[in-house]
Amino acid sequence: MQLRAEKLFFRAVLMLVCIAPGTGICAERPVVEIEIRDHLFWPSEVTVPANTKVKLLVFNRDPTSEEFESYELNREKVIMGNKKAVIFIGPLLPGVYPFFGEFNPDTAQGKIIVE
């Protein structure tokens, strides 16, 4: 009986946390996966919803390191060879947000389309 009460309490707390605006700890973040292969982004264009925080998973399949960079998104992160990086972006207004690989900017180009 007590266990049940405890469970209920935790659930209530959890719900409060989820509802509390701005915290968004429990909010389901859409996950978008991008790969780096031969200094190219695959896919090079991804579409994400507006006004939503998105979890970007960037897999670097190259043996060499790369830096994910975007002035428009205000993001910058070094991704070592054969490693994965987590980058949170947004909430964003609708528009096009280019990103590039700072170590290989001639080829590694992509954009995030926010709709």
Partner: protein, 261 residues
């Protein structure tokens, strides 16, 4: 290829170069030997090496945002050390004994952390091309050019600040450092937003059409004052809060009635 490495290395070197040049100008008026610069570069490079070896492991910390957390911590540390520097320097200027020797380790620590943070990225970048010798040579040439431009800008700033007399030097020097400090704080906030440790918001303004961050002026202002074209409210608030705090500390450390050198 060449241009990429010039720009990348310049961007990284500029920040540390500015910090060293302003602190060096202060060393001049405070009568501190400049041997601290050598130690800072040495410790900074050692730190950069350690960081670049450990970055694969660090990146996996905290559910994949270890890099952001470590980098933000380093920037926050530089911010705190800048506040401490302002306090110690202004007290020293007033002829207070004792604080003078403490200022040297503060400067060494500050610059070492800055060099380690920036140097790490250059090392990782260079290492990626080390297998391909002809390309590597091109990259290294670009890196040297970029570093030289960054150092030259630092030397220019140094002579500009040093040429000022008395009170003016203090105002310009501390003014520049306050902007660097505020920039550090705002960058730390940005990294924690990227890591989802701090809530993200829509930008409070967008000056990218007027002054893009990737323009030459934008890059320079980014290194010097932490310019952001699209900051969030939290970032902007902490930027101006940091600026205010730095200036308050500098002003409050002044002891009235003392003779200034």
């Amino acid at each position: 290829m060449l241009l990429t490495s010039v720009v990348l290395v310049l961007r990284e070197v500029l920040e540390a170069s500015l910090l060293i040049s302003i602190l060096s100008a202060f060393s001049g008026v405070l009568g501190i030997k400049r041997s601290w610069i050598g130690w800072s570069l040495l410790f900074g490079l050692a730190g950069a090496l350690v960081y670049s070896f450990a970055v694969s492991t660090i990146s996996d910390w905290f559910d994949g945002v270890g890099q952001e957390v470590i980098s933000a911590t380093m920037q926050f540390l530089i911010f705190l050390l800048l506040l401490l520097f302002a306090f110690l320097a202004v007290r020293d200027r007033n002829g207070q004994q004792g604080s003078g020797r403490m200022i040297v380790p503060v400067m060494i620590m500050m610059v070492s952390v800055a060099v380690a943070r920036e140097g790490f990225e250059i090392l990782v970048y260079l290492h990626g091309f080390s297998a391909d010798l002809p390309r590597f040579m091109t990259i290294v040439s670009g890196a040297v050019i970029g570093a030289c431009i960054g150092i030259s800008v630092g030397i220019l700033i140094y002579y500009f600040v040093s040429a000022l007399q008395g009170r003016l030097l203090w105002i310009a020097g501390l003014g520049l450092l306050s902007l660097v400090a505020a920039g550090m704080l705002s960058q730390a906030v940005l990294l924690l937003i990227q890591a989802d440790w701090l809530p993200s918001q829509l930008p409070v303004w967008d000056s990218s059409g007027w002054l893009p961050e990737n323009s030459v002026t934008g890059q320079l202002l980014y290194a010097l004052i932490g310019y952001e074209a699209t900051p969030t409210a939290l970032q902007a608030a902490l930027y101006f809060g940091g600026l205010f705090l730095f200036l308050i500390i500098a002003v409050l450390s002044v002891r009235p009635g003392k003779q200034y050198p």
